[in-house]
Every structure is written in C-alpha cells, then in structure tokens.
C-alpha cells in the first residue's frame, strides 16, 4: 500500500498534493493508494481527495492544528505503525523538508528526496532525482526494512494526470501526542514583500535577450508575461546594460531555474545562459537566427521576428 501525505493549510489542499497522488498512482502497480491528512477540521479536504484514493485517513488532533515538525513526525510515525505502508509519498515542499527526515529516521526508513521520476512499480522501483544542481540525474534504490519514504519534486508529476474513481471511504485514526514532546512554538505566518525576486519559484518565465534591442521594447515581453502569469527574466547582456536588475538574470552568473514554461525571446542561447534554464519542462524559443544554439534545447521553436510573433501570440491568448 502506498500512503500519500497530503499537505493543507487552513483546510485548503496544496496543489503539490495532487502531483504526489499522481506519482503514487504511477508507482502503485497493483497496490492500493491511501491518503492521510494531518490537521484540525480537515473534513472538506478529505472529501476532495476521496475520488483519487482507495482510502482517506483523517488524523485530527489539537497538537496538529498548527504545523510543527515534532507534531507531524510523531503523528506520521504512529500512522505508519498502524497502517504499515510499503511506501510513504510526500510533496517536496518546505514543510516536508522540515519534518520528513525526522520521521524517517525514527521509523528506520529510507528517505529519497526531490524525486523527478519513478522507474518501475512496486518494491522493485527505483527513483530518479537530480544531483549536482541538476547537472546529473541519479537513479536511486532504497535499502532497509521500514516503509520507503519518497518526496516528490514540485511539478515533476502532473496534477491533472491523477486518475479519479468512486469516492473512497474516509476513516479516522487517533494518535497520541504528548504536548511536551513538541519543542517548537510557532507564531502566525506572515507575508513579507521580498526584496529580491526568486525566479526559482516561478512556474512560468518570459526571458529576453539581445534580440529585444532596447529597454523600451521589454514592455512587449512584459505584456506577454502578464498575459500568461509569468515572471520576467533576462540573459546576461540585458542585465549588464542595466535594462533589468541583476536578480532577473538567468545563467551561470545568475539564477538557475526549471519552470514549467520558459519562453526565450531574442536569446541566442550561449552556453552560459543554457546552463541556467535547460532543465525547464517546456522551452519555447523565438529568434531571428535559425542557427541560434537556443533551438537545440527548445521544445518549440519559431524562427522569426519576435516583434511580429509576440503580438500575434498575445492576440491568440486573448481569443482563448
């Protein structure tokens, strides 16, 4: 049985939970997939998951109302003892990174983090994960007797690939948590306007290169970026000229990103830039030069004038 640990905040499921369910279904083979939700008043979230799992286990406790690594690790360990899953899958979120290693160690379980692919099904499966900042991909086999814990990289599996069927039963599981065993005292989360933009978190990026020709023209790219909910980024020459701030730079002397969609406008694709973005899931390149190296890593390429093509894309988007 594969147990998926759902993540929620204030009763709302994190989208990555669906991606983890998709991963679990890919791994499962014949095994059933169950989901577990920790928290307080998570009934609605449980019902959302129900069509995608064979059982949804709700674990509610006062100590789990606010997330703490100690609370969640204790709860997960007890759930694992009770349900005896072969695998425990979690989304590779900041929260998972905060408590999963603790739970895994206490369970004597292997924890394979940041997994991008699953090879095979069931207990013979191996797991792909990036190493050396994405320069290499490792195929990893777990060892040991406990449940195999796996955290799934955000965006590696498609949330819409989750197979749905009849709504599963929702069961409750009680856990014992001694409040004094929780050593963290969290205060309420708050939002802060971050100084530097973190392109690493962006799902879509529109990047401009020399082909944009002038600072004023960047507005064209920005319109496209807002139309598709993307962040604006640039290759090095644009930032060197001061047309965009340095924290928008992608490449060996800037940030490395791997968003779902990367649109390269007027970027030639010098290797210094490619190393910063070639891990993106879908790469679209628009450039006048048919020999530009960017086309070697692009999924879709258009040889043409970006000043004609981008407006055409904008009108297409408005239609849809």
């Amino acid at each position: 049985m594969i147990l998926v640990v759902a993540e929620q905040r204030d009763g709302i499921l994190n989208r990555a939970t669906w991606e983890t369910l998709a991963a679990a279904q890919a791994l499962a083979g014949d095994m059933p997939v169950k989901a577990v939700i920790f928290g307080q008043s998570v009934g609605t979230a449980a019902q959302e998951i129900a069509p995608a799992a064979s059982d949804v286990v709700v674990v509610e406790h006062a100590a789990l109302g606010t997330y703490t690594p100690d609370g969640f690790a204790i709860a997960l360990q007890q759930v694992a003892i009770s349900l005896k899953p072969a695998f425990v899958l979690l989304p590779h979120t900041y929260q998972t990174r905060d408590f999963a290693p603790l739970a895994a160690l206490r369970m004597g379980a292997a924890l394979i983090t940041d997994v991008t692919g699953i090879n095979g099904t069931g207990t013979a499966a191996t797991f792909s994960r990036p190493m050396f900042q994405g320069k290499l991909s490792a195929d990893v086999r777990p060892h040991g007797n406990g449940p195999v814990c796996v955290s799934i990289q955000i965006g590696a599996f498609r949330a819409d690939a989750v197979k749905r069927g009849d709504a599963a039963a929702i069961t409750r599981l009680d856990v014992n948590i001694d409040p004094s065993a929780i050593r963290q005292s969290p205060e309420a989360p708050f939002k802060e306007a971050k100084q530097a933009v973190d392109l690493g978190q962006a799902e879509r990026i529109v990047a401009v290169g020399r082909g944009i020709k002038s600072q004023e023209n960047i507005a064209v790219a920005e319109r496209l970026a807002s139309a598709i909910g993307a962040e604006i980024a640039a290759s090095r020459p644009i930032c060197d000229s001061g047309w965009l701030p340095m924290d928008r730079q992608i490449g060996s002397s800037g940030q490395t990103v791997a968003p779902k969609l990367y649109l390269a406008l007027g970027i030639s694709g010098a290797i210094q830039h490619l190393v910063g973005m070639k891990g993106s899931r879908t790469i679209v390149a628009i450039n006048k030069d048919a020999d530009a190296p960017i086309f070697e890593v692009a999924d879709y390429g258009i040889v043409g004038d970006l000043f004609e093509i981008v407006p055409a894309i904008l009108s297409e988007l408005e239609k849809g």
Partner: protein, 260 residues
C-alpha cells in the same frame, strides 16, 4: 555559547560533470572543490552570534582528507577549532550515514547551538541537518533566515531561540525553541566576511580533532547509476506567417505541453 557549524566540501559550481567507469559516482580527479554555499552562510551566522554572545565556534566536517581545504578556510574566517570525521567513503555517503558520522564525533561536546546549511550543492538531499538534530536529541527548525538568542536567565535554565523560518510564496514565520537546538540556514542571509592574512596564519595553529568513522553504519539508499539528463523531446520548429505560427504555438502549449 558553544556553537557548531557543519560544513561540507562540494565540487565547484563551474565543474563539468564527468562520471567514473561504473557510472555510480563522479570522477573526482577532474573536480575542483569549494565550501558548500549555504554552509558558508551558516558559518558567517555562527561567527556573528559569537561576536554578539561570546563563546566558541567549532566547525564539523565529515569526508575524505581533501575536506581539510574547507576546514582551513573556515578556521581562517574565524572559527576557533574543528572536528573532522575522516573517511573516503563519506564522499558519496547518504544523509543517514553522514549524520551518524557527525553525531558520533559531536555528541560529547554538548553544543548549545548547531547550524548547518539547508542542503548541499552536490547531493541536495536536504536531510543531514534534521537527522543530525534527532541524533543529537535537539529540536530543529529549517530554512532559517534570522536567529535571535534570548540568553539564559542564569538560574540553571538554558536560553531560548527565536528564529525566522522561510515558507513558500513569500511567507515567513517566527518560531520559538529551547536551547540546545539545531537550525538549517538559508543562503544569502548575511554578507560573508573574507579571510584575512592574520586569519590564514592563525588557522594553521588551530586544533583539528580527527574522529574515526563509527563502524556498522549502513546506507539507507544506493545510487544505481548516474547520467547526464537526456532531452527526450525533439525540437519542433513552427513555421508560417506570424499569426499562424502564434496560433499553432498556443494550441500546442495548451494541448500538448499543457504549459498554459
């Protein structure tokens, strides 16, 4: 305050990957090494806390002999002494083994605070810090941006920490914890100081305690093979006048790639 900083030596960012014959690990001869970037920020944070609250900073590292390079760098920047669990097998060890190796050498020291980087630039497991906390029987918090120490009241009670933890999407959270505790530190939270000439000279005289790798450690996972990520998709060139090309592209992005 007795502060430990766990540091790791990793291949430099510019290193081009080359694999050994069996493709189970990298070819180390071709690599140049440097201090893992998040660990550098952890070290800087520790040095600042020592400047503010007094005490000593001890760097702890697990790895082959070449790890001396980053230990000396940390000592040159101002750490007081070092602990090195030396063994060649630690170069490719998983988080379970690495945390056990470190804990075996650190346990008796009774550190008040342990800082690690949030993850390493080579393995990227993001597990050693949390596992080490458990092995040292300390509470932990991860991806920390700011550390405030509320000193002990002096009546035998240990002090307390208040730390700012980074959440996704621009959210943050303050967390209170008792000392001793372990924190994994986010990159970029402070400005790294340079090693001075005097610091480099003094580093040569500072103690580096060698500790043996404990026996009986079993790995929790194994790398079956390493590969350069392959691009399985072909480049699809879209032709035609701009309006047609745009239409084709948008359709494919929506239906094929599901990127819009």
């Amino acid at each position: 305050m007795k502060i430990a900083v766990c540091i790791k030596q990793v291949p430099t960012r510019e290193w081009q990957p080359r694999l050994n014959e069996a493709r189970t690990w990298i070819r180390e001869q071709d690599a140049s090494y440097e201090l893992n970037e998040p660990d550098a920020y952890a070290l800087e944070e520790a040095l600042r806390l020592r400047e503010k609250h007094g005490g000593e900073v001890v760097v702890c590292a697990a790895g082959p002999a070449r790890v001396q390079q980053v230990i000396r760098e940390a000592l040159a920047r101002g750490a007081d002494r070092a602990i090195h669990v030396e063994d060649d097998s630690l170069a490719s060890a998983d988080a379970s083994v690495t945390s056990a190796a470190l804990a075996s050498a650190m346990g008796d020291e009774r550190f008040d605070l342990v800082l690690t980087g949030l993850q390493s630039d080579d393995h990227g497991h993001a597990q050693v810090g949390v596992m080490l906390a458990e092995r040292l029987q300390m509470p932990h918090s991860t991806i920390i941006m700011e550390v405030q120490i509320e000193a002990s009241t002096g009546s035998g009670q240990a002090g307390r920490l208040r730390v700012k933890r980074e959440l996704e999407g621009g959210w943050f959270q303050w967390i209170g914890m008792p000392l001793p505790a372990l924190l994994t530190i986010q990159s970029g939270i402070n400005q790294l100081r340079y090693a001075t000439l005097k610091g480099i000279m003094a580093a040569k005289k500072k103690e580096i305690r060698k500790a043996p790798l404990p026996g009986g450690l079993t790995p929790s996972q194994q790398i079956v093979s390493l590969a350069l990520p392959m691009r399985s998709k072909q480049t699809h060139m879209i032709g035609g006048p701009p309006s047609e090309a745009a239409r084709d592209l948008v359709r494919r992005l929506r239906e094929e790639a599901r990127a819009l």
